[in-house]
C-alpha cells in the first residue's frame, strides 16, 4: 500500500506526524517531504480562535485517492504518500492538513507535496468556518465546483 488518505475527526483524534513518518519510510527512498497546515490566529485582520472544518466525507476520500494517484502517475510511481485532513472543531495551532511524501529524490517529493495541496484546495469538498475572538463566526468563501459554463 503506497497511499494513505483519511479524514480525522478532531473529537478524540489528532493528525499524527509520527504515523506519517512511519508510513512513508522506505529504504528505497532518498528524500522525504512533509507539509503541515495549521489553524492560524489571524485572517484578514480578524483574530481567529478556532476553525470548524466540515466535509462531504465520501467525496473527500474519493478525491484524495484520485489526487494522490494522479501525483504518483505524474511525478513518481514509486512514491509513498500520506494525506490526512481534520474535520470538526480545531483551535489555533491544531494541524488541519498533513501531507507526507517519500520518494527517490528531492525534486519529486517537493512537486508531489505541492501538487496534492493545491489540488485538495480546489477539488476536495471541505469547508471552513472561522471562530473569532469577538464571539462572531463566519463560513469562508471558496472555489465553486459548479460547471463553469453554468455559472451566471
Amino acid at each position: 500500500m503506497s497511499i494513505h488518505a483519511a479524514l480525522v475527526k478532531t473529537e478524540g483524534q489528532k493528525i499524527s506526524l509520527e504515523n506519517a513518518k512511519k508510513f512513508i519510510y522506505s529504504g528505497d527512498h532518498g528524500a522525504e517531504s512533509i507539509f503541515i497546515g495549521r489553524v492560524r490566529n489571524e485572517n484578514s485582520g480578524k483574530k481567529v480562535t478556532a476553525v470548524t472544518y466540515d466535509a462531504h466525507d465520501q467525496a473527500v476520500i474519493k478525491s484524495f485517492q484520485l489526487i494522490c494517484n494522479e501525483a504518483k502517475n505524474k511525478f513518481d510511481n514509486n512514491a509513498k504518500i500520506f494525506l490526512e485532513h481534520a474535520t470538526g472543531y480545531a483551535p489555533v495551532g491544531e494541524i488541519s492538513i498533513l501531507i507526507a511524501v517519500g520518494s527517490g529524490h528531492r525534486d519529486e517529493v517537493f512537486k508531489i507535496c505541492r501538487y496534492i495541496l493545491e489540488e485538495v484546495k480546489h477539488r476536495s469538498p471541505i469547508w471552513k468556518k472561522e471562530h473569532y475572538a469577538d464571539g462572531k463566526e463566519e463560513w469562508l468563501p471558496g472555489h465553486s465546483l459548479r460547471p463553469k459554463k453554468e455559472i451566471k
Binding site: K121, R123, S144, L145, R146, P147, E150, I151
Partner: protein
Amino acid sequence: MEIKIKLHGSSKMLSESETLLIKLPENSNIGQLRNSLKKLINEKYSKNNLSNLSNSAAFFSEKNEIINDNYKLKNKELISIIPPIGGG
C-alpha cells in the same frame, strides 16, 4: 415532489437539521431547485450572506458525482449541496 438536501458548509445556515426538505413541481430539475433555493434565501435568510449560494453551489448525486442543471430529480431523492470549497 419532495427533495431532501444534505447540507454542507455555509448552507448549514438554512436549517438546524443536517438536511433540508424542498417541495418542487413534478419532474423538476436542478435548475428549478436553484430557483426555489434562491427564493427561500431571499425570503428568510437575506441577512446571512448567502445571496450567491444558489448560483455558486454545485450539487452531488447519491453516487457523489456532480449533477448539472438539466438533471431530472426523482421524488424523495437525496442530494448534497456543495457550496464553494476551501480546505487545507
